[in-house]
Subunit: 316 residues, 2 copies
């Protein structure tokens, strides 16, 4: 690519009025989320970027990362964080029962995902976990959080929303809840986008067959005590979470069923074997996707001053 054209595009892109409006909305979102979590008794951790282990992102059929990036530090191979889920479980060992983190995630998505409008290979999620909580606890907390954030944006970023010609409605609680089975029946296997378009309010979709750490219903094997929040109007997935597996035998069975390499989770499994993991539930909400929805912009990459979209060359 012509590097000079690339640079001129960067300048034009950075100078858009839209970007300034979007980043001001983002500031209100970040402030509201942090205050909300702290007001609910959460303790804030710093993110980690490197570790000996990270989220496998599989066998979730939605995942399509090409590989987990690694670096070498004095002969130790460290993976970059794809999500902090396993570390959230480990952090609860401390005795703190409510934790949250603004956590940058690196996911080297397949370049074909440039077209989805909602994928980035680098993004931040606000990740939280609550010891001894159920999915209902988390869903109610998230509904309060979403409503409070939308109210704050409508109140403090009125001008920016007007400039963006974005009308936002405060959703009514509780949000509607569907199962993935219902969604597939109505909208087909790839239900997310169509279902999102068919709604004007955020809604829950529960029971996803995915990573080993999401709890399988002990009373209904093949069903899962996890949940996604989906933004309406075609903006798609907002948040992903679940109750967690914490018992060694169940975790091992799931890892084996998924055909994952156990040696990659050695320390985590050791701690599970010692009975140190706790029953918990939590979620991660994508900041850039939340801001995209609130600002009503075309592509999630449009909210990043420095775009990190799979399939696009990184200029700066």
């Amino acid at each position: 690519m012509n590097q000079c054209l690339g640079i001129l595009r960067v300048v034009e892109y950075l100078k858009r009025d839209e970007l300034k409006h979007v980043l001001k909305i983002q500031t209100t979102v970040l402030k509201t989320l942090q205050q909300f979590m702290i007001s609910r008794g959460f303790v804030q951790l710093m993110p980690i970027v490197t570790s000996t282990l990270t989220d496998p992102l599989g066998p979730d059929p939605r995942s399509s990362v090409i590989k987990t990036p690694t670096i070498d530090y004095y002969g130790q191979r460290l993976v970059l964080t794809q999500s902090m889920i396993l570390h959230k479980q480990l952090a609860l060992i401390s005795g703190l029962d409510r934790i949250f983190i603004f956590s940058p995630n690196i996911r080297l998505e397949r370049k074909e995902r440039i077209v989805t409008g909602k994928h980035l290979f680098e993004f931040t999620q606000m990740d939280f976990e609550i010891a001894h909580a159920t999915m209902d606890d988390v869903m109610r907390l998230v509904e309060d959080m979403v409503v409070e954030t939308i109210k704050a944006v409508k109140k403090y970023r009125k001008d920016e929303l007007e400039q963006l010609e974005r009308k936002l409605k405060v959703p009514e609680k509780p949000f509607r809840v569907y199962t993935t089975h219902e969604m597939e029946e109505e909208f087909g296997k790839d239900w997310e986008l169509e279902a999102s378009k068919a709604h004007t309010q955020p809604f829950w979709v529960v029971c996803h067959k995915r990573e080993f750490y999401d709890r399988e219903d002990p009373e209904k094997p093949g069903h899962y005590r996890n949940y996604d929040l989906v933004w309406p109007e075609g903006f798609g997935e907002a948040l992903s979470g679940g109750e967690r597996e914490w018992e060694y035998e169940r975790i091992i069975r799931r890892i084996e069923r998924d055909g994952l390499d156990k040696s990659k989770y050695e320390q985590y499994l050791e701690l599970a074997k010692l009975g140190l993991l706790k029953p918990s539930a939590g979620a991660g909400i994508g900041i850039e996707r939340f801001v995209r929805f609130l600002a009503g912009v075309e592509h999630v990459g449009d909210v990043q001053p420095f775009r990190r979209v799979p399939g696009e060359e990184v200029i700066v």
Copy 2:
């Protein structure tokens, strides 16, 4: 190392009461910093972890990273962020004049640095930049920020400070200012630790010969319009910042003087050549070092649930 012993150490480490107190103090620090910056008109950006370019961390004699870690994504070589300084300058092109970020930095420090008590190979700094600002503007802002944060911790984390047997004084503004020349004269070439021990209040040290982006005084070549804040009582460096070079010719001269590879800053230099960089000043304050000072703990690694100390094996 015996992996099982390692795991038991992790558990013991995570369960310390000290860690819980420290992380609660950290929560108050993060909330106060964010609110302070927003109340002063700053817009919050998300961090970036990967890019085509990052801070060279040289020829600062304090820097001793073994190499800049890189990953490959569809044939594009991306470096991990050592600091967001260059991107802060680029972000100001947007027209936003006051920006801040909680930015995780990866710096593969030499393992000998395990003994300093203040080095991590992964940490977070709150990084900010102000267009058209001078060093005095930044120094006054930081003094207000530090005083406000210490007041908040004393007010909201009284119990935790008591448990940690930590007595904190609110420092008086303005903080004392020394030059590096004065420091070297009094405490020798490695003045930081001894000077820190000799003080009971945070203090400024100005005029450091370091990276090309820190502005050399046009009226006094060989002198630099930059500044470090140093915590007292032996806790050492708190914050590093400076007015910036923004003119292409001056930047090029500095890069050449430092013997750096220009091709690593191609896009940045292109933007500088187009006259798009702005005069600015800013700084980055280390969160873990701030929390370490406030909590009065031995090693900066002790504030991390998942330790990232150079020379220590990473367990999880």
